[in-house]
Amino acid sequence: MNGRPETLSEQDTPRTPAPGVGWEEFSRELVEFFASIKLAMFLFLFIAMTATIGTVIQQGERPETYIQEYGEDAYRWFLRLGFTDVYHTWWFTSLLGLLCVNSLTCFYKRFPAVWRSMKQDKVNVSLSFVKGMKQQAEVTVPGTKESVAQRLAQHYVEKGYRVLAKNEGGEVTLYATKGVMGRVGAHMAHLSATVIVLGGLLGSYYGFQEFGVCLEGQTYHIPRGNFDLKVDKFWIDYHENGSVKSYNSTLTVVEGGEVKMTKTITVNDPLVYKGIWFYQSSYGDAWDQIEVARINIKDKETEKIVKTIDLEWQKEQTLSDLKLKLAITDFVADFAFNSTEKKVYSKTIEHANPAIKLTVNERSTVQATPWIFYQFPDLFEIKDSKYQFELVGYKPKKYTGLQIAKNPGINIVWIGSTMIVVGITLSSFIYHRRLWTKIIPGADGVTVHIGGTTHKSWIDFQKEFRKLTQTLRSFQA
């Protein structure tokens, strides 16, 4: 149904097979191959098929995860084929590259014809050419060829066509065309693939993406931008029903000791400074600091709780009635001990086995710094002390997870994106229509031969053509 306008409009030059394979022959074949729709379709469908792999197999997981789920043999194959990171394998990238080559070659090969049809006239056609069109009609109307041509041309112009005319050899030929922008749009979309890929490459070579865990009140140096970032505050807003409304961090950019800007970022509203974007990405409980802890003080003899106190982080509290001075000097979320370095550290960032280090000063005679475990209250005992200390709860300090990214290719990607959307839209809704008319004087009046073709959207064109012939029939003198 969709005509092949190329074969209609361009006179096909018969290819003369040259003896032997010359460079010219070879390069022509090469262009032919790379510009071919066959290759385009193969790439479209093959990329579509292979892209599914990464949505079924989890990407970028640890080896154990794959082995557990798929077995060792399968995992070995995954590694060989790059299935654990499909979208960055050499073969997937090559497919994308090939798609660029494909669309560029297509542009190189086919755009000149579109350009010519924008610039050149196509008036020199034979009667048999007009009659051979898929959509064609023959109408006899009264009048001279000039007057009919005049009216018809005016009608075309009213319909938005560009008209070219020729009065030669006893007949008038009209050529009317519109909507070539639709085909320009298609080529714009072809170019956009390469633009987007170039933008992506630029981003992946000169950009970066990092993740930072930042605590309130701390200042962090951003070496890539040579400035400092201070995290003033992190908090969470809630909806009435208790679900999270937004995560917020107030950040201040300090450069050369000078405050450059302050902004509260939320999930959809990053801070941008010197091309570096700071996103609110996650949050969590710090693993080495807490805000406050609640401690039960038990009398060892009576086993009764004599007092419950809330101790703030690294602030000494004096309990004169018990003759105690207490302070929390350290915290780990997941207790572990390095025996060679004799150091306590947090094994993970999970709060799996939290413990605080309590500095105890009793009657100024007993001094101790025991680790008090949340889950194992009886683990430590201070020998000379009257009391037993229990950690009954704590409020961890929150950290804010910031995604830090710079992508110098982003604007090129947006240019390519605009091109693809505009290009496809043009080519979808505007279609290239061409009408040829031969007006030949006959016995009574003139015979008008009209033939037309469209790039696509045949029904609309048929309708338009029908209306056109009706209009033509109404040309009464």
Partner: protein, 304 residues
């Protein structure tokens, strides 16, 4: 919440009614093939209907338009409910609302198509898909149907445009899928030389084929636009415009599938049967992208 749910419910029943009427309309038409001269203008199909069929057709159209208006009212009511409870206006913020919006867009597309081309027989297929979309939505558990507040990642003005554009493209592909099924029915009937009045009421194969192609030509740029809006949103929310998240990837896959179709049609003459089968296949992929990814695969779009 109850108000919009009631309206959504009503929409469902109205679409069921209009689907039934369109099917009845097909059966009520007289066999017309004998009267149709070659090249007979499409617009004049109505003349060959029996009076009874014409009336049925009119009622079907009226019920469809009414259903669509109720659907609109339901979405608007939901929008105001959302404004009260969750700080956004967009009535396509969860799976249920998205489905209801897709069926709204399908029915709107159908009504416009009927207005323009005056072919009622398509209703049985395209309204059918709109009805199924609405039905699938109402089958979702109640907790999916309510307007819960948005998670922070979704709470952005991007949701207005990214989601609606993408869903509209799905609706266009759904229409193409419905037309594809219709084409295959009609073709099979023609091959068997069926004189059933049911098939006689269908527009000719070329028209069905071309309309299906048109629907895809609307969906294709919309999907491209929707994907790019999504990339822009991701650049604001996730710290990168493309992260090969399953939903992203699947929408790209769908886009590539239709891209292949459009190229094949332009120059390799993929039309008729092949195009119809492909349109149905493409629509199945859209369904997977819309439903399958949400329920079967995990990823950043898990909330939608």
């Amino acid at each position: 919440m109850a108000r919009s749910l009631f309206l959504f419910d009503m929409t469902f029943w109205l679409y069921l009614a209009s689907l039934t009427l369109y099917i009845a309309y097909l059966f009520a038409r007289r066999p017309a093939m004998a009267f149709a001269a070659a090249g007979y203008p499409v617009e004049d199909y109505d003349e060959r209907d029996g009076a009874w069929a014409a009336q049925l057709g009119q009622v079907a159209t009226l019920v469809t338009v009414f259903g669509w208006m109720v659907n609109t009212a339901a979405l608007l009511t939901r929008a105001f409910e959302r404004l009260e409870h969750s700080g956004t206006f967009a009535p396509w913020s969860n799976q249920f609302e998205a489905m209801a919006y897709v069926s709204w867009a399908i029915i709107l597309g159908y009504v416009l198509l009927e207005l323009r081309y005056k072919i009622k027989a398509i209703g049985a297929f395209v309204v059918g898909i709109g009805f199924i979309a609405m039905g699938a939505a109402s089958l979702l558990p109640y907790r999916y149907q309510t307007a819960e507040p948005l998670v922070p990642a979704l709470n952005s003005y991007w949701i207005y445009i990214h989601v609606s554009v993408t869903l509209t493209s799905y609706a266009a592909f759904a229409m193409a899928g419905g037309l594809g099924v219709m084409y295959l029915f009609k073709e099979r009937a023609e091959q068997r030389g069926s004189t059933s009045r049911f098939y006689a009421a269908f527009p000719d194969l070329e028209t069905i084929d071309e309309l299906g192609y048109k629907a895809i030509m609307i969906g294709f740029p919309l999907l491209a636009f929707g994907i790019i809006l999504g990339a822009m949103w991701a650049n604001y929310a996730w710290g990168g415009y493309w992260s090969w998240d399953p939903k992203e990837t699947w929408s790209l896959i769908v886009w590539l599938i239709y891209g292949a179709y459009i190229h094949a049609r332009m120059t390799r003459g993929w039309e008729g049967r092949r195009a119809a089968i492909y349109a149905v296949f493409g629509f199945l992929m859209v369904i997977f992208c819309f439903w399958g990814v949400n329920f079967l695969l995990s990823g950043l779009h898990a909330y939608a």
